[in-house]
């Protein structure tokens, strides 16, 4: 049995709590990185991070890219989509194919 975690600023992620996800409100990127490292070792299969936080702890997130669990997925916070999720898709594509062919 795996759990699902959400990391982000309180206002953006409060709603997830009601669905039964584990919510970790953070205020600073350092705190977020610390929590991420901690819960990645536990039984979390998916961890959602709001984009504004994810943008600041990229290195920490990239460290988990090649392992099967957890999947760390950026989601838009309440200030709107920053395009980080899309950028990551692009990055994967460039890594695999060499160019961005979907545009």
């Amino acid at each position: 049995m795996y759990k699902v975690g959400v990391i982000g600023d309180k206002d953006s992620i409060l709603g997830f709590k009601i669905l039964g996800l584990s919510v970790f409100p953070v205020t600073s990127p350092e705190e977020a990185a610390k929590i991420l490292n901690k819960i990645a070792k536990e039984e979390y299969a998916v961890i959602y991070i709001t984009e504004n936080i994810a943008a600041q702890i990229r290195e920490t997130i990239n460290a988990y890219k090649s392992s099967r669990f957890p999947a760390i997925i950026p989601i838009p916070g309440n200030e709107g989509s920053l395009g980080i999720g899309m950028e990551e898709i692009k990055e994967s594509m460039i890594k695999a194919i060499g160019t961005d062919i979907l545009g």
């Binding site: 709603g15 009601i18 039964g20 996800l21 099967r68 989601i75 898709i89 994967s92 194919i97 979907l102």
Partner: protein, 218 residues
């Protein structure tokens, strides 16, 4: 021309020929693997992109409805109402193999029996806006999970494709030319030795004939 540093002997030649055979076969297999991975990757990345666009749009709706909910109610009450969730989500994660790359397959289960009954608060002190925000959030959840699965698969596949491509290139542009060059070098060296041997034998034969002729004359 890059050569492997070996002794030009017949034994070394057979050994290298065997290695070349193995390298060629490995190269072909890896190339097939790369092509197939690429095909799978293209399907997945298209799906990933569509899903992400959809999820991001839906998330925006959720955030705006939460914003409205918060504006019509004091934030303490919102927080208080959301304090104790009624349901819990568990993930059933299994492993799927795509061309021997292990990717996760996620299924989620909730502890509550009815999806309509997710509101953990009484309706007396909360507004309808909060209800609709939560309803839309619970709708997004399924897509969010699918996104997680697809996006992780894409990342893992990208990694594997990069690795495979590097191997294919190393075989194609380094190992195989090196082996063919060395094999050619050894064959040529051996032929040269053969020719040297032949001339020497001919020379010896001439000398022996000369000698025997001189002996019979005397």
């Amino acid at each position: 021309m890059a050569l492997i540093n070996v002794n030009p002997t017949r034994m070394e030649l057979t050994r290298l020929k065997k290695r070349l055979l193995v390298a060629r076969r490995g190269h072909k297999l890896l190339k097939d693997k790369r092509d197939e991975l690429m095909k799978k990757f293209m399907d997945l990345i298209k799906k990933n992109k569509e899903l992400r666009q959809k999820v991001e749009a839906m998330m925006m709706d959720v955030h705006s409805s939460f914003l409205i909910a918060r504006s019509v109610m004091p934030s303490e009450i919102v927080e208080e109402s959301l304090m104790f969730p009624k349901q819990k989500v568990f993930l059933q994660a299994s492993i799927k193999h795509i061309m021997s790359v292990e990717v996760p397959e996620l299924k989620f289960e909730t502890t509550s029996s009815d999806d309509k009954d997710i509101y953990p608060y009484g309706f007396a002190h909360t507004s309808g806006e909060l209800d609709s925000a939560i309803t839309s959030l619970s709708k997004v959840m399924q897509y969010l999970l699918e996104l997680a699965e697809v996006e992780k698969s894409v990342q893992l596949l990208a990694e594997e494709i990069e690795k495979t491509r590097r191997r294919v290139n190393a075989l194609e542009y380094v190992l195989i030319p090196q082996l063919t060059d060395t094999i050619k070098y050894i064959t040529m060296k051996l032929e040269e030795n053969e020719r040297g041997n032949l001339t020497r034998l001919m020379k010896v034969k001439d000398m022996m004939i000369e000698q025997s002729r001189r002996k019979s004359r005397s």
